[in-house]
């Protein structure tokens, strides 16, 4: 058994011990709403089940207001004196700046179509995690202070006073939403809870309140270029190590271009690829892949983060962190940018980057140096998704692939929420997977593609600080994985997102420990038939292969 798997099997008792609840017990969900009307149910912060507030140090790094020490279970949240005014002014300002926000406050009919679509409601049963009610938390304030009927009729019009308890409630439920947009797929008016949660979090931020799991990465990313705060020389050391590991496994000694000026392509990945165990394998795979196709590219330590926790913080912070990508592309004088396997990174690139930091007129319209394919769909932002790039190569027969080299893997594919519902990246990864792996089984239709579930840890929730909520939110995805594990023997959950790789691993270790998690390009690199390769018996994560690789042979036969 490979190292990765052994370690995960050990984690099962770990989460069970922490929670004191078996999967069977945790999955006994009571969906019956409380007898009390929701406005009369104050928020509670269960021990070990809330996200810790942003630390003063990191708040200061990125100039956030009212940095202070506090904790959700505290009675006193040390709100600034004129908190109410700040909050309401902030709301008024945003109602004038975001049509989405104003519209979504106005037109919900409370039809309930979205109610049982949120993984946090499905896995937890708390009615305030129904998207419609999550929105009503803020909508009730909107009615009270910004509509005539709410001002006059109060509760009868569904309005309520803004109190400290309301602030606490907003804090709690804004951080039990991963901004995954699943609800918005089902809403007849496309009301997008992600949009409302983003605004709610901005409002909380005006009062100096956010979670450290988002703010520390934002601060570190601002200073060092990545969420983990890895310094340039550390990244260089890591990359050298991965290069050596690749050589040990495959015999290939490859170059690791770093901060190299004049490369054709700047390659940007989520920083998980530099340290997270599954991400690292993806990096090793990428090194091999790019070496094989002879790509003229560079990594960058300044943009050592594709992810952008600004998306979970505020619209302004999206722009502040994202600015580095174009700045670095300009400095290195590359032609265009290629982006790695990451989820919310792609929401930012596809829906925000051009708008906030464009136009990228110093770059060229992306063209594949190998096939000559023009990426028309990226001609303005000049940033191409690695799956688009690879699918094009495979289609043009530029890669010699032996899918049988992945015969030890029985795979299913998890569509990450952001590339699914904020981009529509469905076929490219599937095309790659089907070309590099003989055993691929889809999870049920109702929970893949645009209807995919969130891993439960997006938008700054991916920490075991809030373990119970995380595992509950993860339940629908892990449960579908378990279904294909039992039915088809699936042992690998593929995904294209760094948060997924970490959070799905956590979730599966609890719900379905027989399945491991990995990136799509890991399997691609496993399947590459490369001239000059040496015989080997393990894959890139040093897991034994079904059939040892004999150089030049495909599926055991002469190529």
């Amino acid at each position: 058994m490979a190292e990765v798997e052994k370690k995960e099997e050990r984690e099962v008792p770990y989460y069970e011990t922490v929670l004191g609840a078996s999967p069977e017990k945790l999955a006994t969900v009571d969906y019956k709403p409380p007898a009390k009307p929701w406005m009369d149910v104050p928020p509670k912060f269960k021990k070990l089940d809330y996200l810790n507030p942003a630390k003063v140090k990191w708040m200061k790094v990125i100039d956030l207001p009212f940095p202070r020490e506090w904790s959700p279970p505290d009675e006193d949240w040390k709100l600034p004196e004129n908190w109410k005014e700040i909050f309401l002014n902030g709301m008024e300002d945003r109602l004038k700046r975001f049509r989405s926000f104003q519209l979504f406050m106005d037109i919900c009919v409370r039809c309930g179509a979205c109610a049982d679509k949120c993984q946090f409601f499905i896995g937890g049963g708390d009615p305030k995690n129904m998207p419609v009610l999550r929105a009503e938390l803020l909508r009730s304030i909107y009615r009270r202070y910004f509509t005539t009927s709410g001002k006059i009729l109060g509760k009868i019009a569904g309005a309520r006073e803004l109190t400290v308890d309301v602030i606490k409630e907003l804090f709690k439920y804004s951080f039990q939403c991963t901004e995954c947009r699943r609800c918005s797929v089902f809403c007849p008016y496309g009301i997008d809870m992600a949009e409302i949660t983003m605004i709610a979090r901005e409002l909380l931020l005006l009062l100096g309140m956010h979670v450290n799991w988002a703010i520390e990465p934002v601060g570190k990313s601002f200073l060092t270029g990545n969420h983990m705060g890895l310094l340039p020389h550390t990244i260089k050391d890591f990359m050298d190590e991965y290069r050596d590991e690749l050589e040990k496994i495959t015999g290939f000694k490859v170059d690791v271009p770093m901060n190299r000026k004049g490369a054709e392509i700047l390659y940007i990945v989520p920083s998980g690829d530099f340290f997270d165990e599954r991400g690292v394998i993806l990096t090793i795979a990428t090194l091999l892949y790019f070496y094989h196709i002879g790509l003229d590219y560079t990594w960058s330590t300044y943009t050592s983060e594709g992810g952008n926790f600004g998306l979970f913080t505020s619209h302004e912070m999206i722009k502040r962190l994202n600015a580095k990508m174009y700045a670095e592309a300009k400095r290195l004088k590359v032609k265009w940018i290629l982006g790695g396997e990451c989820g919310h990174m792609w929401r930012v690139i596809n829906q925000y980057m051009g708008t906030v930091n464009g136009p990228a007129d110093f770059l060229e319209e992306p063209v594949s140096p190998i096939t000559g394919t023009k990426f028309e769909n990226a001609k303005d932002t000049k940033m191409v998704h690695i799956a688009e790039f690879t699918a094009d190569l495979i289609r043009h027969g530029k890669l010699k692939l032996d899918p049988s080299r992945n015969d030890h893997v029985i795979a299913t594919y998890h569509d990450s929420c952001n590339p699914s519902r904020a981009m529509g990246l469905f076929e490219e990864p599937r095309y790659i997977i089907k070309n590099v792996c003989n055993n691929f089984y889809e999870m049920p239709e109702s929970c893949i593609r645009e209807k995919t579930f969130c891993c439960g840890g997006g938008a700054g929730l991916g920490t075991d600080e809030q373990l119970e909520t995380l595992l509950r939110g993860n339940f629908p995805r892990s449960n579908a994985t378990k279904h294909v594990h039992e039915k088809f023997g699936v042992n690998r959950l593929l995904c294209m997102c760094a948060i997924d790789r970490a959070v799905l691993s956590m979730g599966l270790s609890y719900w379905c420990p027989q399945v491991t998690v990995g990136g799509v390009h890991e399997l691609l690199a496993n399947a590459l038939v490369i001239p000059g390769e040496s015989p080997r018996t393990v894959d890139l994560r040093r897991q034994p292969l079904k059939r040892p690789i004999t150089p030049g042979k495909i599926a055991g036969k002469e190529a």
Partner: protein, 335 residues
């Protein structure tokens, strides 16, 4: 608001409206108020209110292009794009809107998530909401169009044709309109699900029950007039034609039931711009549905995009120059 309060407040409000009209006409003989002034005021509020709300929405910027993509994006030429669910052109987005508005496309996706022992999540088909919403809206629309016969003389042939289709399955005299049954049936369903599904009951507000009771009231009074208590149709047409020609006349002997019906309709119109019923207009402006997902190909402009503080490469290099030098990373400035 508790369920009981929300439900009863709304029901009582509608009953009170009925009482007001009844007392006003039967008792106080305020026929002109209820037959002319109130309808005029209601229509004025409706028109002005709708325009105001729509202009207000439209005047708010759309800073980001945020369509919810529910199909394959446009990427490589050989990958089949879903041009409707993930449009890359304005035309595609327009077609997507047609599906949303005419067929309630998104609601059609609805399914019920069930947690079974095991634990096993399963997803069951749940199209009743979609069906009832569609039945409700189309019968409402057709009934509205049928009412044109009261305002146009001679009655236009499309309206007559619609009436004929609508009463095609004759079971009764006078003709029973299918849409009347559909409207009442669908509204009753929408109401019952609010009352009996615990989650629906938990989220429902008076503003959810009120329009349902109001429309039910309109449907029932309309039905009573047509099928049970004969009203003076000639007189009513005289009144409605007077209204439409801005020379209101109040003929004798129309019957209080008509005034109640008209008052409820007036209330609905006047209430419309202040309520969730504005979804009718709002759906057209929904930014997750009505724009193309082509941001990477075509830059979207945010009118309030402002400069922000960033950490430049130069600052970064200044912070870590020694480390970078030792690691052999290229530098812009040697110390």
């Amino acid at each position: 608001m508790s369920f009981g309060l929300s439900f009863w407040v709304s029901l009582i409000a509608v009953l009170a409206l009925i009482l007001v009209a009844w007392v006003g006409v039967e008792g106080a003989k305020l026929n002109f108020l209820f037959g002319a002034i109130i309808p005029y005021v209601a229509i004025a509020i409706f028109v002005v209110g709708m325009i105001y709300r729509i202009l207000k929405w439209a005047s708010i910027p759309l800073p980001f292009r945020i369509p919810t993509t529910t199909g394959q994006q446009k990427s490589l030429p050989w990958i089949k794009q879903n041009k409707i669910e993930n449009p890359s052109t304005a035309l595609g987005a327009a077609i997507r809107m047609v599906f949303e508005v005419l067929l309630f496309r998104s609601l059609f996706r609805n399914m019920r998530t069930e947690l079974r022992p095991g634990p096993r999540l399963s997803f069951a088909s749940a199209k009743w909401l979609w069906l009832a919403a569609l039945a409700f809206h189309y019968s409402f629309l057709i009934i509205l169009i049928r009412h044109l016969r009261l305002f146009i003389e001679p009655v236009p042939s499309p309206v007559k044709f619609l009436e004929m289709i609508d009463s095609f399955f004759q079971v009764w005299v006078p003709l029973v309109y299918i849409t009347d049954l559909m409207l009442i049936g669908a509204v009753t369903y929408l109401l019952l699900r609010r009352v009996f599904i615990p989650q629906m009951r938990y989220i429902s507000l008076p503003s959810d029950y009120f329009p349902l009771f109001l429309i039910l009231g309109i449907g029932i009074t309309g039905g009573l007039m047509r099928y049970f208590y004969k009203v003076n149709v000639v007189g009513i047409k005289e009144l409605t034609m007077g209204l439409i020609n801005f020379s209101p006349k109040i003929p004798e002997g129309i019957g209080v039931l008509f005034y109640i019906h008209l008052f409820l309709v007036s209330t609905l119109f006047a209430y419309f711009p202040f309520s969730k019923l504005m979804h009718m207009a709002g759906v057209f402006l929904s930014p997750t549905r009505n724009i193309a997902n082509n941001n990477r190909a075509k830059r979207h402009i945010n009118p309030w995009n402002y400069p922000v503080k960033v950490h430049t490469y130069e600052e970064y290099e200044d912070d870590y120059r020694e480390f970078m030098k030792d690691a052999g990373l290229p530098l812009e400035k040697e110390d």
